[in-house]
Symmetry: C2
Subunit: 436 residues, 2 copies
């Protein structure tokens, strides 16, 4: 094992080639989907001014911000003036404020890159991790919500996560629900926070917390938890919400989303889920979350948050968006081990006098698009170099010894079969390009 002194800092990771290639493959696949939808990429700096970030993530969030010490003569003050990006949304609000009319209207952007949070590192929880967001700023249309939902579902399909369910609800429906069940306004927020646990805890445990922790009367708690976990919960809620103005508006926007996005996501994979709450309180319209078999938590989520861009320092614009849990998705795929690109040709070096010819050959092979390496260590023994070629997963090894040289040929060894063939040096590149 590596000495701890050489480990990356706690909560961060070094990505060697195989892991990095798997990640890049997932990112490229997702990017291609976003591009097909006309989302545009945005990249902001790794750090922002400290004041841009503080106060935007609540007290708990603020504690997790990595702050950068002032420099030069100011370093001794121990003060910070910059901070590492904590999410992609605050930088988006800043960019919309800064570039306004230079941006397409509405502004559909995707952002995929690292964010940093000083969380306690744990299984699957990192201090440096990739976030992947799409947002539409400047459109109040239900079509914008549908586009976000369809794009995220397409991404999951594209990376091979097909066995998922998308839960849909609406902030307005939740408000109507509180109204319909007679939950006092003052208890509303707390009640929703507790109801959010229905996906993890049994209904009676949640009901007890609603009573003991939130002060809800027992009959209301029982009715709420009973109806929300019933097999026909959606139908019960449709009836309960009918007479509430907010509830009716919520149902209408849910139905519009199901109508517009359902055929794209797949009707069997998307459903109105009245118990879906989502922890964050900035949502104003539809909300959604994607869960997959065998995965704890969600692998995608989002919704409409019309006041958020303004609250984060941007202009007052309607907006909606969503995130893909790329780290979780990559975690799912790691087991299946993406195929790595192989070395096409390994060139052995049996005598230093052949180096000029071998470098010319390497140049020709690379120009033909073949991934080629020349043996760079000092040994001139063939067995050792064949082991190197095998370790590098080469498809073919070219052996060019004194006899080959005299005959104007080289020996091409197929590393999968062990077959060897004599090939004239002049046609070696064409030969290897053809066997690719």
């Amino acid at each position: 094992m590596a000495s701890q002194q050489f480990d990356p800092p706690s909560g961060t990771r070094d990505f060697l080639a195989p892991a990095l290639r798997t990640r890049e493959h997932v990112f490229a696949t997702i990017r291609a989907v976003f591009e097909r939808y006309g989302f545009e990429p945005l990249q902001t700096p790794a750090f922002e001014r400290l004041e841009t970030l503080t106060g935007k993530y609540g007290d708990e969030g603020d504690k997790l911000i990595f702050k950068i010490l002032r420099r030069g003569e100011h370093e001794a003050t121990g003060e910070a003036d910059l901070a590492l990006r904590y999410d992609m949304t605050v930088p988006l609000a800043r960019v919309v404020a800064a570039y306004g009319s230079q941006l397409p209207a509405p502004y559909k952007r995707y952002a995929m890159g690292p964010v940093w949070r000083a969380d306690r590192p744990g299984k699957g929880r990192f201090r440096e991790f990739t976030q992947c967001d799409i947002d539409v700023v400047g459109s109040a249309s239900p079509l914008a919500d549908a586009e976000v939902v369809c794009a995220l579902a397409d991404c999951l399909d594209a990376v091979g996560v097909r066995d998922f369910r998308m839960l849909v609800n609406s902030r307005k429906a939740l408000t109507g629900l509180l109204e319909a069940y007679g939950v006092p306004d003052s208890l509303g927020g707390g009640v929703l926070t507790t109801l959010d646990k229905l996906d993890k805890l049994p209904p009676d445990v949640v009901a007890r917390e609603l009573v003991d922790g939130r002060g809800l009367p027992v009959p209301i708690a029982a009715a709420l938890t009973g109806d929300l976990t019933a097999g026909d919960a959606a139908e019960r809620m449709r009836i309960a919400l009918k007479d509430s103005e907010q509830g009716g508006a919520g149902l209408a926007e849910i139905d519009r989303l199901l109508e517009l996005a359902g055929p794209g996501v797949g009707p069997e994979r998307i459903a109105f889920t009245p118990s879906l709450v989502r922890g964050l309180d900035y949502y104003t319209g539809v909300i959604f979350e994607v869960v997959a078999e065998g995965m704890p938590g969600s692998i995608a989520s989002g919704g409409r948050y019309d006041g958020l861009i303004a609250a984060l320092g941007g202009p007052d614009a309607p907006a909606c968006g969503g995130s893909l849990g790329v780290e979780r998705i990559i975690g799912l795929l790691d087991a299946a081990a993406l195929e790595q690109p192989r070395l096409d040709v390994a060139l052995t070096v049996l005598g230093d006098e052949t180096l000029p010819e071998l470098t010319r050959l390497a140049r020709d092979l690379r120009a033909a698009g073949l991934r080629t390496e020349v043996y760079l260590a000092t040994s001139r023994k063939l067995a050792k170099q064949l082991k190197w070629a095998a370790d590098r997963h080469a498809r073919h090894t070219v052996i060019y010894g004194p006899q080959d040289r005299a005959a104007g040929t080289a020996t091409v060894r197929n590393m999968d079969t062990g077959d060897q063939a004599q090939v004239p040096v002049a046609s070696l590149t064409a030969h290897l390009a053809a066997t690719r």
Copy 2:
């Protein structure tokens, strides 16, 4: 203009879609070349432990490190425990130390990503900028140097920078040069630092600095500056170095590099340049630098640095490598404005009742690989939506009004020519995919 409050922090940049795509295109082009050479990607965290970085970049470098404040109860100490990556070489040394036998031997890796330096921002000088390095750790072979040099030259060709010159020298040749011209050992380092200015200052100015600033006798200063700037400088040096052991070894390694890499780089673009010094004192073998017409400074550089990995905390391994000045290269290309991907299809929305059909159509078009957007703003006026489609640089706009709907057709407008055609809805995707 944007209010300064919304600008990115001093010395950093926001990359909107056009600039970001140009950058990503350059990075992808470079990556493809490195992959053809069998270099493997490596990505390390944005920050390292502070002690991993301090003391590695000299006093001036240490001052430019962005330090991260300790968190939680330790924040009040004003101390830092982490620091943003300052280059790619110290993390490489840590990775080689940490993963040793898990890495291919020799370890050929490339790294491309941001580094952070608290430099005073200026024209073309940023606090967050991309570095692009290749290194071969664990090979003392001259072929390794040649592979690095050829890979970098191939990258320049691939990104369209073809009018460059690669200057080659050797640390040993420089040592031999001091010996051959009788420069006292004690003055050697300072004399080389001053000779490094011969590419920017006239020979007599450099000679004066050698005498006044470095204490070199006048005849030696005159001979050195005269010979190094003569038209036949390389020939004069070959003669001068012949009798020096170090000088002879240096000439041999230069000649070996020219023999192995010259045909790949192009013999007319690479030359022994005895006045090339390079500022950094960790080089032990060949050194090189690439200059291009109309560019101040170099756009690529590198050499052999056999002791560096150990000095940076890694194992004692021979190594060589080089960097591409990607920010400068991208600066060169910006003027030529890379072609941006266009929107293939803009779908107008003339009535809300058509939204389900339009979302289905969008889905089909995207499934056929066409970059497609649906109009997301509220106006239902065609003129406004055509302007949107033009602003989005769409190739085609689909108009699907009430008459179209009744006829089972849609109108396809070619946005470059203004031509319009009626196309049956059922064959719209095939039609648009064919006109791509």
